[in-house]
């Protein structure tokens, strides 16, 4: 028992109990303190963003973790083990050397061979002055249309690959757009093509992880297939559309769809 309790003696039994109890309480308290301290350290050392993305990636369904080389037809089946960061992939060069078999993309969305794409539906365009422009791709743009509000980062803000680049709201849904690259925001704005960021890369030319060419067509085709399944009624069998195309302002056109699930899958939330 405790020294201040009537009946306490400095006898072996009481000392053993006191030691064990103090040990238990200290273990519980130190466990909580360690978890809090480690969490705080992760945020201070900027590891938290990558950690959150890695944990989110693990929660993505396997079909949404397909390797870019499978999307490009270079391999028959491969799930990405690197959280879409090919800069850390030991087999990247081996697979990239294989011939790609990119199919024609139908469904009302197109892509540009001039742009590099991130799986979170953003594109990157390297500019002549060494900066990069980052924007939403056509599929995401068709889906959201005109957002109700947009929260762009201030100039000078650092962004990290697969961390949050900017936020939008549409019909009560919060959308966090993932950053396609590491860098510092130098300008932001909106034009007829949508909202964009101008980013100075942390490591210029370090964009190997972004999709290009045949990988993009394969990926967008898979994304359109996913959308078709998600938009089909729970009772109806999955069926192919007969040549239709993705219409703009989809969130307004189909308010009854399960937009939480669609947006989570589109913007890579686990």
């Amino acid at each position: 028992m405790f020294p201040w309790v009537d009946g306490f003696h400095w006898s072996p039994n009481h000392i053993i109990f006191l030691t064990l109890f103090a040990g238990v309480v200290l273990t519980i308290a130190s466990t909580i303190a360690r978890a809090v301290w480690r969490t705080s350290t992760d945020f201070q050392t900027h590891r938290a963003t990558d950690m959150c993305w890695q944990l989110n990636f693990k929660e993505l369904p396997e079909a949404e973790r397909t390797c870019r080389h499978e999307l490009a037809g270079r391999v028959s089946h491969r799930t990405c083990p690197n959280a879409f960061d090919c800069r850390h992939c030991a087999q990247y060069a081996e697979f990239a050397a294989l011939p790609a078999r990119g199919g024609a993309l139908t469904g009302g969305v197109s892509f540009s061979n001039e742009l590099l794409y991130h799986r979170g539906h953003t594109w990157v365009r390297p500019e002549e002055d060494g900066t990069c422009t980052v924007g939403l791709d056509q599929l995401a743009d068709h889906m959201i249309g005109h957002p109700d509000s947009v929260q762009l980062p201030a100039n000078g803000t650092g962004i990290e690959t697969s961390g949050v680049a900017w936020r939008m709201t549409k019909n009560g849904h919060e959308i966090s757009v993932r950053a396609p690259m590491d860098g510092t925001v130098v300008a932001t704005g909106g034009n007829a093509d949508g909202w964009y960021l101008r980013v100075r890369p942390t490591k210029p030319g370090d964009l190997r992880h972004l999709l290009r060419g045949a990988e993009v067509s394969g990926w967008l085709a898979a994304e359109l297939d996913r959308l078709q399944v998600q938009f089909s009624s729970a009772d109806a069998p999955v069926c192919m559309a007969d040549g239709g195309t993705l219409m703009p302002e989809l969130m307004d056109a189909m308010p009854a769809a399960d937009w939480d699930a669609v947006l989570d899958a589109t913007f890579l939330e686990g």
Partner: protein, 420 residues
């Protein structure tokens, strides 16, 4: 209503099929009513005192203590599964670990809630820690159960923070990850605490010199019941997990864990139950022939009062003890789901009967020449509080199943099965 449906869907993990919000609400209604009734009954007891119950100075332990002992034994699956997975590295039991934590949390928090009503004056609960009775085994039980409840809450926290919406908050997600990495420490601590409080709950009866029906000899300061309670709790914990999971599978219409997990839990439960039954049999023989004779009681003295005849002892040891051992361990039966469930149900019933006998029969039997045989029938307030705790458990488990990753379901795995 439409907003509620949307809100409900937002909290369910993406790609995981669950029943409709309306169906889920209908499922919850009866349990919520029972919880309401339980809270009302508990409030009566707290406001007016224990005259609302049928306990008295002689029958000081009743239905609530029986519930406590039963729930704490059945909830042992939490510490034991954690011990098996994190300390003994039985990784194949991982899929059931979260469910075990939820079951443990329900059992222990329910037991503590009932104790609050039973002891009364919950606002002065801290007196137990500040002014402990240094001569009572219950003091050690209180310390251990309270600490272990904290441990269970900490073990539950990572499961809770993995909810679809909560994990979108970066600090929650990182904290969950960091806390999850420390769970092995908590599992070890849980095993340590459980070892002592499970034992002390048994020891509590074993040291009752004035109650020859319960009094036992033992080692050092620990009577034999100390060890029997530990082993029986370890034996029955996995069995209860099997039953809970099988019930969840039946209600939801989904296969939640592989049959190999059931078989392994069943075998562990069966082997430990075998050890327990053997020790229990030896203990009973020593008690009947040595311990109770030494204080002037013949074996038949304890079994002369109906309905507590000797049949109860044999039922506990044979159909609810030895039979489940065979069902859970023999190759012929342990591979069949039906027999494993039957064995697990018998094992749980046996331990519940053991706790009932030690709580109720011990107090009912006369010990002095002028004592009378007492009968105790719980009041409706006691029953309502009891049912309220059970209903609370069902609600917490249902909510956890619906919104949290209870069985580590892979997304889309259970899409083609009926919606439960």
């Amino acid at each position: 209503m439409a907003d509620l449906v949307v809100l409900d869907r937002r909290f369910i993990a993406r790609g995981v099929e669950r029943s409709s919000a309306l169906r889920f609400m209908f499922w919850l209604v009866p349990w919520v009513i029972l919880v309401g009734l339980g809270i009302y009954a508990a409030a009566l007891c707290l406001f007016y005192g224990l005259n609302q119950t049928n306990m008295d100075n002689r029958f000081a332990f009743g239905m609530w203590i029986y519930l406590d002992l039963g729930m704490i034994a059945l909830g042992a699956g939490a510490f034991f599964t954690g011990f098996l997975v994190y300390i003994l590295k039985q990784e194949d039991l991982k899929p059931i670990l979260n469910s075990a934590v939820v079951v443990g949390l329900i059992c222990y928090s329910g037991a503590v809630a009932v104790l609050m009503v039973d002891v009364g004056q919950p606002l002065r609960a801290w007196f137990t820690f500040w002014h402990p009775n240094t001569h009572s085994m219950l003091t050690e039980v209180t310390f251990c159960i309270t600490c272990y409840l904290f441990v269970l809450i900490l073990e539950y926290l990572p499961v809770l923070l993995r909810n679809r919406q909560l994990r979108k908050v970066p600090s929650f997600l990182v904290f969950e990850h960091q806390l999850h990495k420390l769970v092995p420490v908590l599992a070890g601590l849980g095993a340590f605490l459980s070892f002592f409080h499970q034992g002390s709950l048994g020891g509590l009866y074993g040291v009752l010199r004035g109650r020859p029906f319960a009094f036992r000899q033992g080692f050092a300061i620990w009577p034999s019941t100390f060890f029997l309670f530990i082993i029986s709790a370890m034996a029955v914990g996995p069995s209860f997990l099997i039953l809970v999971t099988a019930t969840a599978e039946a209600v939801t219409g989904r296969k939640l864990v592989q049959s190999t997990v059931f078989r392994k839990l069943g075998r562990i439960s069966g082997i430990l139950l075998g050890v327990y039954v053997a020790l229990k049999a030896i203990d009973t023989l020593v008690w009947l022939n040595v311990t109770s004779r030494a204080v002037g009681f013949a074996p038949w003295d304890f079994y002369a009062y109906k309905p507590f005849g000797s049949a109860l002892l044999f039922i506990e040891i044979l159909p609810l003890g030895l039979l489940p051992v065979f069902l859970l361990t023999l190759p012929m039966t342990s591979k069949r789901r039906g027999w494993v469930l039957c064995g697990a149900a018998l094992a749980c019933s046996g331990i519940l009967l053991n706790r009932f006998v030690l709580t109720v029969q011990t107090l009912a039997l006369p010990t002095l020449p002028f004592d009378e045989y007492l009968q105790y029938i719980p009041s409706w307030q006691e029953v309502a509080t009891f049912l309220g705790v059970i209903a609370y458990g069902v609600i917490l488990y249902s909510l956890s199943y619906r919104y949290l990753p209870m069985f580590g379901q892979s997304k889309g795995v259970d899409k083609n099965v009926p919606v439960g």
